[in-house]
């Protein structure tokens, strides 16, 4: 059973390892996926930043192109800059020129075009109906306008009526600086989607603590705003925000989002403007979730080692079965077989050496019980045993008529001894059987009378012999018994033993009881008695003789 236990331990270890791996594998996978997700969102944030910069460059180019257009804006703006107020003609000409420029635009048209004179006053505007940036208002003060009037081309982000505008400006130059042209693109959903469409993410633009525009309706604004509050004061360049700030996760009900923010530049940035790029995170799967996502082709022979798995399974089961057969089933069958033999009296006891481990223990335990039972059965024959030694019928081969009795095998340690003394059978093999086989046809020689003396067990105190109550023996028995008695007396004398307490009546009575016992046990008709010397003492052995 040892190897079976080892095997099942190994199988259990392998199973536990497999289960641990199954439980553990999704976690590194999820970590890797989260890292990939963060990398992806960082890249998306970076791309949005790059696209916004590229877009700004394009808008600056467009403003510069407008400033140098054939509409000759300088001729309109120049005179107005010298006037106390903007003239109607100047405003009208300016609107016309701006409208033509707007119409001539290919691609995404600006949301508005504004012409300002050298004082920064709005001469004309098209494409905007708001009260803000109205004609004749002064736009000088806007950093972008001031820079344009100073001769710079640049871009900015303005917030006008709670909407975000991507603005660019260029100076209008004639013989000298005449004014500036300002173009603005409203950041609407289409423009935002255009930015992130190839990236597969969403983008929201925030300023003044609220959402300006976004591509998704996912309400992540609170968490994103809290994140911005933590990083808004960072001194790193805005263009590096996507790499400087750690991407983060936003939980919205059951859905999680990976997000990254980047601060917006310009006037919108000074008003807390930023954009957030985010994408929905795949849910955390775990073992069952991973199994749920498995596809049919994952289990195909091409993708799954079914053969290896099957061979491994069969080998595992086969080794387990083999070990169970070798260590459990076969010994058990062998023990059961012996038990049946013992039950059928074909075998006296279990061969303890033939069984190992627990089965050997069982055999020993049963043997002990058998021995105990036999001792208890023999306890009633103590007197004769003390005097004559045990009738080792079960230990001796049954000798048929004319068959010489074979020497008895040495009894096992648990075997009950029939000898009268403490001598051990294995130390002195029994002598060859005496030619004293009483048979009914055999006429025994005359036996001289034996003086009757009290019988006492060797080494025991003298006892008063009980009255004989045995049935009278036949003459043949009487002859045999007397002869055996004489031989026993003679042998005891030869061995230097005392014979003073030994009487023929007690001796014959014991022989009769012993004979009857053997007859009852073995179903034999005749019992042969042998006198022999054992350990220097006289002993007597009774052997049942089967009928011919």
């Amino acid at each position: 059973m040892f190897l079976s236990k080892i095997w099942f331990f190994l199988v259990a270890v392998a199973g536990a390892t497999a289960l641990t791996i199954a439980l553990l594998l999704p976690r590194p996978s999820e970590r890797q996926r989260a890292a990939d997700e963060q990398q992806r969102i960082t890249t998306a944030c970076d791309v949005v930043n790059i696209l916004l910069r590229t877009n700004a460059r394009s808008r600056i180019d467009l403003a510069g192109k407008f400033a140098r257009a054939e509409q000759d804006l300088a001729s309109i703006l120049g005179p107005e800059g010298k006037n106390q107020t903007i003239s109607e003609d100047g405003a009208k000409n300016g609107r016309k020129a701006a409208a033509e420029l707007l119409e001539s635009t290919t691609g995404t048209k600006p949301s508005f075009i504004i012409l300002v004179d050298i004082q920064g006053r709005v001469v004309a505007r098209v494409g905007m109906q708001s009260d803000a940036l109205a004609e004749r208002d002064t736009l000088a003060g806007y950093y972008l306008v001031d820079d344009a009037l100073d001769g710079y081309l640049r871009d900015d982000l303005w917030i006008i009526d709670k909407e975000l505008y991507l603005v660019a400006a260029s100076p209008v130059i004639g013989t000298k600086y005449a004014g500036a042209i300002i173009i603005g693109h409203r950041m609407d959903k289409a423009l935002a989607e255009q930015l992130v469409k190839p990236l597969g993410v969403d983008v929201n633009f925030y300023a003044d603590g609220q959402l300006m525009i976004g591509t998704s309706t996912a309400s992540v604004h609170k968490d994103v705003g809290a994140r911005y509050a933590r990083v808004s004061a960072a001194e790193s360049p805005l263009a590096e925000d996507c790499h400087t700030f750690e991407p983060f996760r936003v939980q919205l009900g059951d859905e999680a989002y990976a997000a990254q923010i980047g601060r917006l530049p310009g006037e919108a940035g000074e008003r807390g403007g930023f954009f957030a790029v985010y994408t929905k995170s795949a849910p955390s799967l775990g073992v069952m979730g991973t199994l749920d996502t498995a596809k049919q082709e994952d289990l195909s022979f091409a993708n799954f080692p079914w053969i290896t798995l099957g061979i491994g399974f069969v080998l595992t089961v086969a080794v387990g079965m083999l070990l169970m057969i070798l260590e459990s089933d076969r010994p058990l069958r062998r023990l059961a077989s012996v038990a049946v033999k013992v039950a059928k009296d074909e075998q006296d006891r279990f061969d303890e050496e033939a069984h190992r481990g627990k089965f050997g223990s069982i055999a020993r335990s049963v043997n002990i019980r058998l021995d105990k039972m036999e001792r208890e059965a023999k306890a009633k024959k103590t007197d004769l045993d003390d005097l004559l030694g045990p009738p080792s019928a079960s230990a001796l081969p049954l000798a048929g008529p004319g068959t010489p009795a074979r020497p008895a095998k040495p009894p096992p340690p648990s075997e009950f001894k029939f000898t009268s003394g403490p001598a051990r059978a294995e130390t002195s093999p029994p002598p060859p059987p005496l030619p004293l086989t009483p048979t009914r046809a055999h006429t025994p020689p005359p036996v001289p009378p034996v003086p009757v003396t009290p019988i006492a067990a060797a080494g025991s105190a003298p006892a008063v012999p009980p009255p004989l109550a045995d049935p009278p023996d036949s003459e043949e028995d009487e002859v045999v018994f007397r002869r055996v008695f004489q031989e026993f007396l003679q042998t005891k004398k030869e061995c230097g033993e005392s014979t003073s307490n030994l009487t023929y009546e007690q001796f014959a009575s014991k022989l009769r009881k012993n004979r009857e016992s053997l007859r009852a046990k073995h179903g034999c008709e005749e019992v042969r008695f042998q006198v022999y010397v054992k350990d220097g003492k006289a002993a007597l052995k009774a052997t049942p003789v089967k009928d011919a």
Binding site: L52, G120, D137, D150, G151, Y152, P171, D208
Partner: protein, 252 residues
């Protein structure tokens, strides 16, 4: 009688004498001391070197601003942020009094009419919104003065300048670039500087004055000039090095 007086001014040579005579008479009548006779102080602020370099980049969009390829860009011009002030002379009590009328400081779109608006202490100034959209104004340094006051187009809000030599910054709530400054001064002997650096202070009493320059939020340190005001108009040439402008500090 009126015709006869008019005839006295027919010839310029006669006119100066007559005017002086008339002024003396009026001064005697009105009891004005002879030392209070005043004339204008004019001048010009020049920078040495003249070009102050590019104007600072106050903010940036997605890309850095680009100089246009057609003309050199304008240089920094701090003069509109300057006020020339005369101190240390014989200031009469009348000059310390604020004007009787309310002064207007107008908001015109995305900026005030002038970036710095100097007034005598005690002057009441009304902030007037001349733009087409409503604005919410505030004075972040002195919230009790203008506390998120909404000014609709053509709307007004009156404030009183109480402290001398201190600017009151006025900002709009929804923009960062829009700002104006009220400057309180002890008397009327001051003048704004125009874009070319010129200034003029009218009717300065005769005496020795110290000319100082206030720039944005404080005095230009190390920029002072003594001015002797006599009976003739005084022309002052004040030369400032650019590093003085950059090193301005508010007065303590």
């Amino acid at each position: 009688m009126g015709i006869r007086i008019w005839r006295l001014f027919r010839r310029p040579s006669e006119r100066s004498f007559e005017v002086a005579l008339l002024a003396c008479a009026l001064a005697l009548v009105c009891g004005i001391p002879a030392s209070a006779f005043a004339d204008d102080v004019r001048g010009e602020i020049q920078f040495k070197p003249d070009r102050l370099g590019a104007p600072p980049e106050r903010n940036r969009g997605f890309v850095e601003r680009i100089e246009n390829p057609l003309r050199p860009v304008q240089t920094l011009n701090p003069r509109p942020y300057m006020v020339v002030v005369l101190e240390g002379g014989p200031v009469d009590e009348e000059a310390k009094k604020p004007p009787g009328t309310i002064q207007s400081y107008e908001l015109r779109g995305e900026s005030f009419e002038q970036p710095l608006f100097p007034v005598v202490v005690g002057t009441r100034v009304k902030l007037v919104n001349r733009s087409a959209r409503a604005r919410v104004l505030l004075t972040p340094d002195e919230p009790e003065l203008v506390d998120s006051v909404s000014l609709n187009p053509r709307g007004e809000h009156e404030v009183k300048v109480e402290k001398a030599h201190q600017t009151i910054l006025i900002k709009a709530q929804d923009t960062n670039h829009l700002e104006g400054r009220l400057l309180g001064l002890a008397d009327r002997y001051h003048a704004l500087v125009d874009e070319r650096g010129r200034f003029e202070i009218a009717k300065v009493p005769e005496g020795t004055w110290k000319l100082r320059v206030w720039y944005r939020d404080g005095w230009l340190t190390g920029v002072e000039q003594s001015v002797e005001v006599g009976k003739k108009r005084v022309d002052v040439q004040l030369t400032i090095t650019p590093d003085k402008v950059r090193g301005t500090k508010p007065q303590e």
